[in-house]
Symmetry: C2
Subunit: 427 residues, 2 copies
Amino acid sequence: MSYIQKVSSYIEKNRSEYERLLQEMVQQPSKAGGESGIQDIVEKRLSEKGFDVDRWELDYEALSKHTYFCASRPDFTGSENVVGVLKGEGEGKSLILNGHVDVVPEGERVQWEHDPYSGAIRGNKLFGRGATDMKGGNLSALLAVEAIQALGIKLKGDIIFQSVVEEESGGSGTLAAIERGYTADAALIPEPTNMTIFPKQQGSMWFKVHIYGKSAHGGTRYEGVSAIQKVHTVHEAILQLEQERNERLDSPLYEGNPIPVPINVGKIAGGTWPSSVPDQVTIEGRMGVIPGEDLLEAKAALEAKLAALAKEDSWFAEAPVEVEWFGARWLPGEIEDDHPFLHSLIQAYHSYKNEDPVLKASPWGTDGGLLTALRGIPAVVFGPGETSMAHYPNEFINLDHVFEAAVIMAETILQWCEVASVNESVH
Amino acid sequence: MSYIQKVSSYIEKNRSEYERLLQEMVQQPSKAGGESGIQDIVEKRLSEKGFDVDRWELDYEALSKHTYFCASRPDFTGSENVVGVLKGEGEGKSLILNGHVDVVPEGERVQWEHDPYSGAIRGNKLFGRGATDMKGGNLSALLAVEAIQALGIKLKGDIIFQSVVEEESGGSGTLAAIERGYTADAALIPEPTNMTIFPKQQGSMWFKVHIYGKSAHGGTRYEGVSAIQKVHTVHEAILQLEQERNERLDSPLYEGNPIPVPINVGKIAGGTWPSSVPDQVTIEGRMGVIPGEDLLEAKAALEAKLAALAKEDSWFAEAPVEVEWFGARWLPGEIEDDHPFLHSLIQAYHSYKNEDPVLKASPWGTDGGLLTALRGIPAVVFGPGETSMAHYPNEFINLDHVFEAAVIMAETILQWCEVASVNESVH
């Protein structure tokens, strides 16, 4: 009997227990600042399973000094990370399993069929905020390790199970885990990919561009310069930069994607009065950061493109646009195309599903970006949730996918961390 | 001695009295809803000078049913018009002198050198909110009539001196005077023109255009349609309409004006998140209305232009833009090029100043538009204030201009209303 069969059999027998555990996790309304309940569950579980458990509150003061710090909250009181380490027997490769427990707000109750934190199971679906993003994926990863334990297997390499906070608002949980010294030879992030493998994860940064005009009365608008009209020139330059950046991309992971790393302008506001020529408009957007690209390089590219407008339009020489970087940003993450951990994951998928997995570059970043950028840890994203569900009302996860992902992850772990010994008496 | 000389001489002798009167007027902070103080002064003065005085509070209920009603306030309690009629001896042409007493808010105190309602005189300038817009002009008109009275002259035609409220927020004061039955053969509006004569006054209306897109995540922006990008197409169509409308204008009054009747887009807001494709943007603007043009015609022209976008861009067929008319509007006003009242004013100006006046089409509307549109009263705008001062901190009026305008207005009145008799014993 192969390990895949044994793991599947373990899951088959214990499926209802894990469904209940996922229900309990989803029933915790773990929005930013309210993660204690879910971390209690995770801490207890990891302790019971023999992990060395480390639980600590994030140090806002210390973290906020970090170059890559990014948060929308003014303090982290009560926001605690839980990391469980399952030491290997030695001489194996280590693996970080990193998943966040914070969820985005549930929005309007009326848009939800069930209570947003019901964890209700209907057929094959488990409903609730965070089910897909990403408590379902976290359960897959935990179950993968527990199944390996249940089979009496000791691994050579260490497993570092990171249950982090603050992913949705900038990654301070993972940053704190990095700063605490946790590292590994590879990382798996079970964010919702709908069982697709993302060896490259697009980063992103938010920007504002302030565009200036010259005020005048609307009845003599020819005496002014409309900042609203100037937005078009700026937007065109942004789209041109987007095109130039995307033309350079040649990984097969980007094939068929019309704009692999887009620059989106999402918000606009300007002018103060219908009958005045607007002298100021601000646009806000999201610039995709290419896997492997430095954030500062990406920033410089946008700034240079917009500074160059002064050469084409003398107005911009007189009143240059101003670029401001603000709010959230996610670092791009990646794993080399021929990295053995990626190979293990692909092979595990193929062995279990009897088909090749879909490999793509993700249109969004994860905490894996911090691991790659700060500690050079190759990171791959693969999980059972569906991106299209994340952040929406009536979020649910397909339970079959949770258990399928667990089998694939277990097989991947066995390949990567390697089996040190098997105690056949355990089952 | 000509009448011009006699009027000038009267003003010369009584200049300090009128400066004090204007000071008192400017010292009244007559913002919308607070016009009682200034109307007390006007009422008293008109009564003393033998006008039949009519003072009444605006009837919000009745006015709000009117097609041309437009107000930013929910009631007019305490907002009273004052109209003084100086009956002529008969068989003469009548004249409305219409000026508003409401002023726009003074804004930030720190931006003013003197108290905004000081009425401080420094050299030739009288400072204060409303000095130029338009208490200075009102004083010129009042003084013109008082000078004629002081010379012992009885006119053939009636003078209807209208001291109205609510001009700054939609013209309900003048609308109320019209509804009360006041009419005349011509009207002079001493709004700030800097001694230029405006035989045509541009009207204006405010509009919103709601532009729709299709939401998507910024990382896959190609799955959405950006409402911000669609704004450009809408704005281009608006500018094209502006050009078409202005190409039709052929009055010499528009000569040298690059865009006599502009359509200004003054405000923009849309999108909710930097990393989402924006599915909605609203622009707000001011559409100039051509003198002689019906408001409904102008509205239909913009609506048709934007509806036609669906033919050029299938997105607009799927998600048509919506046009909304809101907020303020001013009707266009005018007087025929060869109208004898205009001729009287031009001639009076020339006789006094020994030079031709500048005639132009104004880039903004006045309450004269209501008089022209509702009662067919030819209206001309001419006053001592400076447009560039209106609504700004440190507003002032040039006192010499106030008294010069008064002489020109007196001479115009004598020409238009005609002298019935002169009682030489008066002076």
